[in-house]
């Protein structure tokens, strides 16, 4: 039978936002906000999400959104949560919706601390692998060899492994998600929502202008990221129990790379290196899953 998408749109995310046409960060927001529902508050550091949820006097979200500073996402979310708890609203979900700059780079300190305190927040990182809202510069999430505005010849170092960093904090739940697998994304949001403590969801967001992807293709590129093993879908519970949601790789990394202008310059050798890295990472992940 054909696979169908199951999430329900509860009217939590509004039309008229200013995401680029075809932006899957907006799509992922739609899924997440509708899955989390009305009893929620979101904290948003500067990012594409901040632009999408704004701008004044309009809001694209049907829940209160607090726009905070770039490095403060997790700390601000903690503050909201504690204030709600002080008011007896223990069940209200507090979301932090950040980009990879606000997560892997400048926001890592606050996130690490919130995770260490096991603050009861659901932290979502929309990982478009760079500072795309400022026009596309590298972050520590940018992968090896990718061209950005600040790595014109391709990045010379690897992408930071945020899941392992977070797992070391032994928080209740970490998961990766992709806009190509909305049922998986919905299930993970639901699961995270039902857990107390710090939950982190890292969502891969192929950025149309930043990666050089056609307007209608971000889902396809995200799907290739999953199918090639570049971005495995998996969950970590308690920082220890790893579980892969997609256990097979069906395509070579080249098929993923060739969809994006940021990899246009790659040589066969570069591609082989990237494939070898993916192979290694995949095996390491498989081993962790026991």
């Amino acid at each position: 039978m054909m696979e169908t998408i199951e999430y329900t749109d509860r009217g939590q995310f509004f039309s008229g936002h200013v995401a680029c046409a075809g932006c899957v960060e907006a799509l992922s927001l739609r899924v997440i906000l509708n899955t989390v529902g009305k009893d929620a508050v979101a904290v948003v550091p500067p990012s594409c999400t901040a632009v999408i949820c704004g701008s004044y006097p309009h809001s694209a979200a049907n829940i209160p959104v607090f726009h905070t500073t770039l490095e403060s996402g997790a700390a601000s979310a903690s503050g909201v949560k504690r204030a709600l708890v002080a008011q007896g609203k223990n069940d209200t979900t507090v979301l932090c919706l950040a980009g990879d700059g606000g997560t892997y780079d400048i926001g890592l300190q606050a996130l690490s601390s919130a995770a260490e305190r096991n603050e009861d927040i659901l932290y979502v990182c929309f990982d478009n692998e760079g500072y795309m809202n400022t026009g596309g510069q590298k972050s520590s999430s940018t992968p090896l060899s990718a061209v950005t505005g600040s790595t014109p010849a391709g990045k010379t170092t690897r992408k930071k492994n945020m899941v392992e960093i977070l797992a070391a904090h032994r928080i209740p739940y970490i998961a990766t998600a992709s806009p190509s697998d909305l049922n998986d994304m919905e299930a993970k949001v639901k699961k995270a929502k039902g857990l107390r403590g710090t939950k982190v969801l890292i969502v891969l967001i192929p950025c149309l202008p930043g990666w050089g992807v056609a307007d209608n293709s971000a889902v396809k590129v995200a799907r290739l990221a999953v199918e090639t093993g570049v971005f495995p879908l998996f969950e970590v519970e308690g920082g220890i129990d790893y579980k892969m949601n997609v256990t097979t790789r069906s395509r070579p990394v080249q098929e993923y790379l060739s969809t994006q202008k940021r990899y246009k310059h790659l040589t066969a050798e570069n591609i082989a290196t990237l494939q070898a890295d993916v192979d290694d990472d995949w095996q390491r992940l498989v081993n962790r899953c026991g």
């Binding site: 004044y56 209160p64 997790a74 979310a77 903690s78 503050g79 002080a86 300190q109 690490s112 305190r117």
Partner: protein
Amino acid sequence: MNLMNRKNMQLLSGNHAVSWAARLCRPDVAPLYPITPQTPILEKITEFHAEGLMKTELLTPESEHSAMAACISASLTGARVFTATSSQGLLLQHELLHYATGARAAIVMCNVNRTPASPWGFWPDQLDSLSQRDTGWVQFYSESPQESLDSVIMAFAIAESVGVPTMVCHDAFYVSHSMEPVEIPDQAMVDDFLPKFDPARKLDTAVGASFGAPLDQNTWRRSRMDLAESLAAVTDETIRVGEAWGKLTGRSYGPLERYRCDDAEMVIVTMGSMCGTVRDAVDTMRENGKRVGLLKVRQFRPLPASMLRDALAGVPVVMVLDRNYSPGTGGILHQELKAVLSGMADGPKVHGLLAGIGGANVSSETIDRWVRDYQNAEPKPESQWVE
């Protein structure tokens, strides 16, 4: 009179007096990060909390920066919020101090004034908070543990009614670690004085309104005009709250305190712990027939300009003692006072002394000497390094 016989008197350091004030104000949320010499505030609060004497949600994040970030968002969620810091911590918060004001977060923070590095030092100096003067925070400078306690309670009343964040500053060690008998007000009285925080707008799932979204130029300008309007109301609010507190406790406060300034030929203007020394020096000089008075600036931000002009109208000579040095400018209070008094027909001659920078000791006798040195001197535009 034996102070210890009065109701609820305890021998407290300035920091513990602040902790007591925080406890009495029943903050919903208190994010705290340790730093010398603020740490006793944190420790006393966590002790109260551990003993079940405070129901506050305590956060102990990884930095003052995250502490302030949590303060702002908690405040906007409708929580009464307290925090405390000092020096490097305050400076680390700089970005968020601006953010808090723009967000109209009614946070109350105690800053223990300490030298900013480098070089490293841990001594009384007000440059840390004075250099935050453009962030829009209301700033009070306290002279004693009792005043620090009273000021924190009054700061909540002011911050929450005007909708601006408020800082109560006291000097490292001279106030923070000095013990004195402090009257701890009745909880019921404080509860009555400080009703539950209930802001008109907050992050409320029942309403769904959002704060902080990017906006256009004109709306940003308008937000500053609104802020200016609120800040313009602070001085009156300080007076109103200070008088109300005085009726309850016998201790009234205002933006300024004039001490033996009537008929003074020279008025010494200063802030914080220096006021105690000056007060003592003034008493001695008055006994010796010198007509010298003290003008204590308690509310530095917003600067009560009209009140300062009124207070110093007809005074021949003013000597400003700045326990801070703004590199390239000099004493901050000196410069600000000159600007405030500028254009007064009967304005005083203003001397600016960089006194006790880095916590260097300033005794009553030293002040007496400076009065003699500067009483008849022609003022210079620059602040003067003195010992």
